[in-house]
């Protein structure tokens, strides 16, 4: 059987499959960034964290032959990057955006430096669950081969959505993100809360990186991320800092990213390269459509340096 047998149905199916496959790193990075931004800080360095996480996960998986140890190592590396960002930003007159850009370059550079020996070897992959086993059609099977990390990400977005309303930690993060003064009046130290929030955000971005190198595309190369970490930051704004919104937006971006390959697979030979740019064009369109010069951004944390 080949793609032509199910005809044009292959396109939505491939988009669905692509959405599930491509969206997972977006989900983790954007959930991490949502936590960080809800606490009133922006970490643009998540792109670097993502790449470094991908390298760490791959290297550790190659050496220990366990993808799960790789995943843990990536989370730990991401945590370190996040804590480093949070620690620098607590000093007065430090701009979190500038530090983020510096860490983005630093993380990528460091990953390339340590990652050179791991370009060739093959690491074990993270497991996937074949939800499509009931079908005989290989396209359906391929599309519904869902990685466990996607499921964890989906659950995590629900948990975070709940936790921002119903737990002390969630409320504290929101208080700190919205008003440093109010937080201090309650005896909270905004810097500590932001340090932890940035750390957790970094760890989640590291996990997103592990998914890249250990499942899809599933190998370590220097071009592994192509700006996904940065797009996830934009996605948080588009999702209005809502974890469920982050999940939906990540799916949307994943689907858009799968458009090009899907069209190619059903035999569209001209102009499909344009569709490879779909996620980027979508970012632009969404940002333009949802912004307004006369309205302020609804739901933005008050202490965020871009909205101040």
């Amino acid at each position: 059987m080949d793609a032509t047998e199910i005809g044009l149905w292959g396109v939505p199916l491939a988009i669905l499959g692509g959405a599930i496959r491509v969206s997972t790193p977006f989900i983790f990075v954007s959930l991490g960034e949502a936590i960080t931004e809800r606490s009133g800080r922006i970490n643009l360095g998540l792109e670097g964290t993502l790449v470094f996480g991908a390298m760490t996960a791959y290297a550790v998986a190659v050496m220990t032959n366990s993808p799960w140890l790789g995943l843990l190592a990536a989370a730990a590396a991401g945590l370190c990057f996040g804590l480093f960002h949070g620690w620098i930003c607590k000093f007065p007159k430090v701009n979190d955006i500038a530090i983020g850009i510096a860490l983005m370059l630093f993380g990528s550079g460091l990953a390339f430096f340590f990652g050179k020996p791991f370009i060739k070897p093959k690491a074990p992959n993270l497991p996937a669950i074949p939800f499509g086993a009931w079908s005989d059609i290989p396209q359906v099977q391929a599309a519904l081969d869902v990685n466990v990390l996607f499921l964890i990400g989906a659950a995590l977005s629900l948990v975070l959505w709940w936790a921002f309303r119903n737990t002390r930690a969630g409320l504290i993060v929101r208080v700190v993100g919205d008003s440093s003064d109010a937080a201090r009046a309650m005896g909270l130290n905004p810097n500590t809360v932001r340090l932890l929030a940035t750390g957790v955000g970094g760890a989640l971005a590291g996990i997103g990186g592990a998914y890249l190198s250990l499942y899809y595309p599933g190998s370590w190369t220097e071009r592994i991320s192509s700006g996904q970490g940065l797009m996830a930051v934009a996605l948080v704004i588009f999702a209005r800092w809502n974890p469920l919104g982050c999940f939906a937006a990540a799916l949307l971006f994943g689907g858009a990213g799968a458009l090009g390959p899907a069209l190619q697979s059903v035999g569209v030979t001209q102009g499909y390269y344009l569709f490879y740019a779909a996620p980027y064009i979508l970012t632009l369109i969404i940002m333009i459509a949802t912004s307004s010069p006369t309205r302020s951004l609804a739901g933005a944390p008050g202490e965020l340096s871009i909205t101040k």
């Binding site: 002390r168 409320l171 929101r174 919205d178 109010a182 309650m186 005896g187 006369t294 309205r295």
Partner: protein, 509 residues
């Protein structure tokens, strides 16, 4: 945990002294606030009121002096100690978190919050607690969506929820409309009468002190200059204690309006989106004559701010015309200069100044790039800027350490004086003013109002938007009421009644 039923406590300070280096902010101040009383603390900016209450709240450690709570001497080393004794403070600026709901704000400010919040249980307890409160508040709405009066009530409720029974209110009505102020203070007064609460209110509004307080203490330059029962003191006596013998600017008498005065500002069928983008403001027809002050009253959030922003060129308009002396006005710098339009927006530090630039530079914004003949210059002369601003600083009594200080380092009253100096110097045909006296003290208010009246008498057309109805009644020749984005009522000052204006402000008409 959080019992609002704790009985009121009385607080007394004995010989409070606070020195910062060689400067004595507070010298030997003893005041007594008995249990269940409503005590007012009067004083100009910088008189030491906030130093005194910060000592009571544990933010400052006094150089010497003692604090007694319910007659027992206590040591208050930190705000935490103060709250353990039941002492709480409601700040002038809101300390609620805007994006959280009222209920979330209350629960998270508690000392002990469980890791996972059982909202059903909390809501039940809050409902029981709110039943004992004289305030009715929606607790499930985000604080950002509450009106200023509701926020102020929630601040007070929060203190009571936390079990405080002695409250310092720092100018609690400065952000409220007259109606809201009456309501909030009336309810607080009721609670002190019932013995649930003791209140120390910082204020500069005499009529509030007279209407609500039992006793008053007055500070000037860090010294207690008077204290006594409010019933025994009139406004004149309080003013004398507060400002001493320095002269208060008197309002110019109102020059009779000319019957054939030219219409300077004309607004026709103006339509613009408001800040939510969901509603719009509509000004059908508004004319302001030369030599008159037209006041616009209204509860904040009814479109006054947007209207001012349109006039100031900060907000695009959908339709309609703004004419100044018959020519269209789009608020460009060239037009403002040619037509002599001047603007004093609210919150001048934010809207009319570059906060980190110097006082001299800020004062020269209108004139720095033209020479004495009005021709553009190619080189800016720093000495001309200095000479010009030195003259204005002198003339408008702006208190500043130096002309080279950043304007953000000045007090609110002096920032407003600097802005007035800039806007009122030279020919003024149209003056647009919004809440000019917000948060300023007695002598600054008197002086600023006198300046505006002087500009009117000199022939300027003045459009004055204010949330302070007293101010409008004092200055205006005609008053409009703005409600829900439109001008709904017009009256001349002779026929104006607070009652009718208030009804239109509230939307009952």
């Amino acid at each position: 945990m959080h019992e609002g039923s704790r009985k009121a406590v009385g607080v007394e300070t004995i010989g409070m002294t606070m020195r910062f280096g060689a400067f004595t902010a507070l010298g030997d101040v003893s005041i007594k606030v008995p249990t269940g009383s409503f005590h007012a603390l009067l004083g100009e900016n910088g008189a030491g009121k906030s130093t005194l209450v910060k000592c009571m709240m544990g933010f400052y450690h006094p150089t010497s002096g003692d604090i007694l709570v319910d007659g027992r001497e206590v040591a208050i080393a930190s705000p935490r100690d103060a709250s353990a004794l039941g002492l709480g403070m409601v700040y002038q600026h809101f300390t609620l978190v805007p994006s959280l709901t009222g209920a979330e704000n209350l629960v998270i400010s508690r000392e002990k919050v469980p890791g996972i919040i059982d909202w059903r249980k909390e809501r039940g307890e809050l409902a029981v607690f709110m039943e004992r409160m004289p305030f009715k508040l929606p607790l499930d709405v985000k604080v950002a969506e509450l009106a200023a009066g509701e926020k102020q009530k929630l601040e007070i409720v929060k203190q009571l929820y936390l079990g405080r029974s002695f409250l310092v209110l720092d100018e609690p009505t400065s952000v409220l409309t007259p109606g809201e102020a009456q309501e909030v203070l009336g309810l607080v007064r009721g609670m002190t009468k019932a013995g649930d609460l003791t209140v120390l209110m910082i204020s500069h509004k005499f009529h509030e002190v007279t209407a609500f307080a039992d006793d008053v203490s007055v500070l000037r330059k860090g010294k207690l200059t008077g204290t006594g029962r409010v019933a025994d003191l009139d406004h004149k006596a309080m003013a004398a204690m507060m400002i001493g013998d320095q002269p208060i600017a008197a309002l110019d008498s109102r020059a009779a309006p000319k019957p054939d005065a030219e219409i300077v500002l004309k607004v026709k069928s103006l339509k613009a989106p408001d800040r939510t983008g969901l509603k719009s403001i509509r000004i059908e027809d508004l004319g302001v004559h030369s030599g008159e002050i037209v006041g616009i009253a209204g509860i904040s959030g009814n479109g006054q701010k947007e209207f001012l922003e349109v006039l100031a060129g900060q907000r695009p308009r959908d339709a309609g015309e703004v004419l100044v002396r018959g020519s269209t006005y789009a608020a460009t710098r060239a037009e403002a200069r040619a037509l002599n339009v001047r603007l004093i927006p609210e919150e001048p530090l934010k809207n009319a100044c570059a906060p980190k630039m110097t006082v001299a530079e800020n004062i020269s914004f209108r004139t720095f790039d033209i020479d004495s003949n009005g021709k553009p210059v190619s080189w800016i002369s720093a000495s001309a800027i200095r000479a010009f601003s030195a003259r204005l600083v002198e003339q408008f009594k702006v208190k500043t350490a130096s002309l080279a200080s950043p304007i953000a380092s000045l007090s609110g009253g002096n920032v407003q004086r600097a802005v007035l100096a800039r806007e009122l110097t030279g020919e003024v045909d149209l003056l647009i003013v919004s809440n000019p006296c917000f948060g300023l003290d007695f002598s600054a208010v008197a002086e600023i109002r006198a300046r505006i009246m002087k500009a009117r008498n000199a022939g300027a057309a003045v459009l004055l938007m204010s949330e302070d109805l007293d101010e409008l009644l004092e200055l205006s020749d005609r008053i409009f009421v703005m409600s829900d984005g439109a001008l709904v009522y017009e009256t001349s000052i002779a026929q104006a009644s607070v009652q009718t204006i208030g009804e239109h402000m509230a939307g009952h008409h």
